[in-house]
Point group: C2
Chain length 411, copies 2
């Protein structure tokens, strides 16, 4: 059954969501996109029409909304008749948008954990600080809320469940490895909103090991991974959303997240951090102006969306899952490889945005079809993975599995 979709946000990921919704509007229905700035929404819709992305004739409308204002979002949901809200706005608006869904009965999807602008890296499990506190409210309202359904978190959670269910009897460790081997050609840039990107790396690095939370600092633990297509890549133990739900669902396994960084990125990050320029706490200039350093850094860095036209190379993101099968040790790597230039050609965004934006559209289709219309809150590994992976494959993110010398598609 078709369900109207409201997209919140108008950045690089929202662009991908918009194109993919348009390509599947025969399954979804009316489409709406809303952000603080109407013009950004209109630009996204214009790019959809430029590519002729609407599969069948239909509505795609732009709206201005302050997503921090829950009542305004609820009013927009009612006005548009949206039954599915894909929230790819700033991570600061998750709770107000979720509340609007609870109030209106619309399904809720997001791709990153809620953040309070004033806090960095709160106590684990992160989902316990905001999202999971709304579990009962979702259940009572019969609202489907799927948390963190981008690529990572999101697809990698489904990979973990697939490995645990179909390839292993016991799971000893889940290592999520995220490598962007692409090049944007700029001296320095972040692939996501710099504010969110840097906030990920300024706090304590939490991992789940030996049944408890381990704490490290960023760039303290590094490891070279040898991956398909992108080859040997150095990645660092990093704090990331999915560790916090996978640890709850697979408490007997070690759960770690590794992100690839080049020396240049680390150097720039280290300089900015040590000087205090990544701080979210305001400082006063000699002229008496109060400035949040991180917001100025964001202002001087390239807009991540502007990187897309020149981005080349590939990403490789997946799960190294170790455990036993029939009493013997087994290790599989379940992964996807995406191409920046192909993503840009199709939807006008680079590969990082593409991998993050396609999964919530697959989920929206599963909700519309009834497969994932669960009427409660869930993290992705709590949902059956194969229908999702099949839909992802159809939408452009195929899954492969490598085991020893074997490297095969998962279909």
């Amino acid at each position: 059954m078709k369900r109207n979709v409201l997209i919140i946000g108008a950045g690089g990921v929202a662009q991908v969501v918009a194109h993919k919704c348009a390509q599947n509007n025969d399954l979804l229905g009316d489409l709406h996109i809303a952000s603080r700035t109407l013009g950004k929404c209109e630009a996204v819709i214009a790019s959809v029409h430029d590519k002729g992305a609407m599969k069948v004739p239909g509505r795609f409308e732009a709206h201005a909304v302050d997503a921090m204002d829950s009542a305004a979002v609820a009013a927009l949901i009612r006005e548009t008749g949206a039954e599915i809200v894909i929230n790819v706005g700033s991570a600061f608006v998750n709770m107000t948008v979720l509340q609007a869904c609870i109030d209106t009965g619309a399904a809720y999807l997001d791709t990153a954990i809620h953040e309070d602008p004033a806090k960095i890296c709160e106590a684990p499990p992160w989902y316990g600080n905001y999202e999971w506190k709304r579990r009962e409210a979702c259940e009572a309202a019969g609202v489907t809320a799927i948390l963190g359904i981008g690529f990572d978190p999101g697809v990698v959670n489904a990979y973990a469940r697939l490995a645990a269910e179909d390839y292993l009897d016991t799971v000893e460790s889940i290592d999520i490895v995220d490598i962007n081997a692409g090049s944007h050609g700029r001296w320095f840039a972040t692939n996501f909103d710099p504010e969110i990107n840097f906030r990920e790396f300024t706090g304590t690095v939490y991992s789940w090991q030996k049944g408890g939370w381990q704490e490290n600092s960023m760039f303290e633990v590094g490891k070279v991974w040898d991956l398909p297509v992108v080859g040997e890549q150095k990645a660092y133990l990093t704090g990331h959303d999915e560790v916090h739900s996978l640890a709850a669902n697979y408490p007997g396994a070690d759960v770690r997240f590794w992100m690839g960084f080049g020396d240049h990125y680390i150097n720039v990050f280290t300089v900015l951090k040590n000087l205090g320029l990544l701080s979210e706490k305001p400082v006063m200039t000699a002229e008496g102006l109060e400035v949040v350093p991180l917001k100025l850094v964001k202002a001087v860095l390239p807009d991540p969306a502007s990187l897309a036209p020149d981005y080349t190379g590939k990403t490789c993101i997946g799960d190294v899952v170790r455990g036993t099968k029939d009493g013997a040790p087994r290790e599989v790597f379940i992964y996807n490889v995406a191409d920046h230039a192909e993503a840009f050609q199709e939807v006008g965004s680079q590969g990082i945005s593409y991998t993050a934006g396609v999964p919530p559209v697959a989920a929206a289709i599963l909700i519309a079809r009834g497969d994932w219309d669960i009427g409660r809150m869930a993290n992705v590994e709590e949902l059956p993975p194969m229908a999702f992976l099949t839909e992802l494959h159809r939408l452009g993110l195929p899954t492969r599995i490598r085991e020893g010398e074997s490297d095969l598609p998962v279909t």
Copy 2:
């Protein structure tokens, strides 16, 4: 004859000037210090009294003044009966303070070239953009104005003239080398106001070679110098005030300025510069706040004055002057070595401030004594050097000369 002194500015250099004036108030007379913030002036005076620095009983008073307001400065000169103004405020106030001296007849001293906040690195010779345009006005008013009488510019200009007069028949090159081999123990800090410090290095590097202006970029040309006390040090061709007057007074010689930088400084500078964080042009944050990046960088860096208590090690600044004497090639290095900890013990400032703050006090004493009471504008190399160097020696900055294996005091 005693002459009352008004110090403009209340930073680290002003602190040194205040202590040295106090130590010589028998030669100078009443002392006054003025800056935008009265409390900073009062703190300087309190530190003078803490050290018991006043040689004879006398006045030392604090005043608030906006040094960008020429009339206000003139009024303060009249009110205090100051006959000598030592301007060690921001480089942005030189022209307003100089005008106040022209209007009142007070002698004018500064330690760095005038800068327009909106411009970086104007066309050479830099003195031609602002200072030298006031030459005739000074002459007409009979006002003594000695430009750039810190250490460099200042003492190094006197070293150049000494070499040219007493050690060489022809001068082929003057290479000023400024090495700070001290350590402040912070992850990163600038020794002067970060705004002024970085502005020095973001523009074109001008040097005078083969009878013309040569242009390079910062950190493009590096050279290892083997110097007394501090040993082998890498320094880079840098734009600096004194090149612009020495080139006019010794047009047949190559005139270059070299400043020592460690790899860490260069790395931090390069990151900040390439990201646009050293820009003096305002940028707009996503929240609509207009911020000058350089002013925020200044706000997050340590206050240079706060470095003094922990500063250890030495500076070595001097002139390598090459030419001929009696038809044979000759090279001398005329230099001073200063010690950060000794400076702090004596006047509560680190060595960089000490070397900059002592010379204008020596000049003030020479003016009061009549030696340098010239009634016109001059750069330091246009004045007889030996009385100045003798006074500097007495005030704590002895001069030495190295030639081959010989290394002797200049007295």
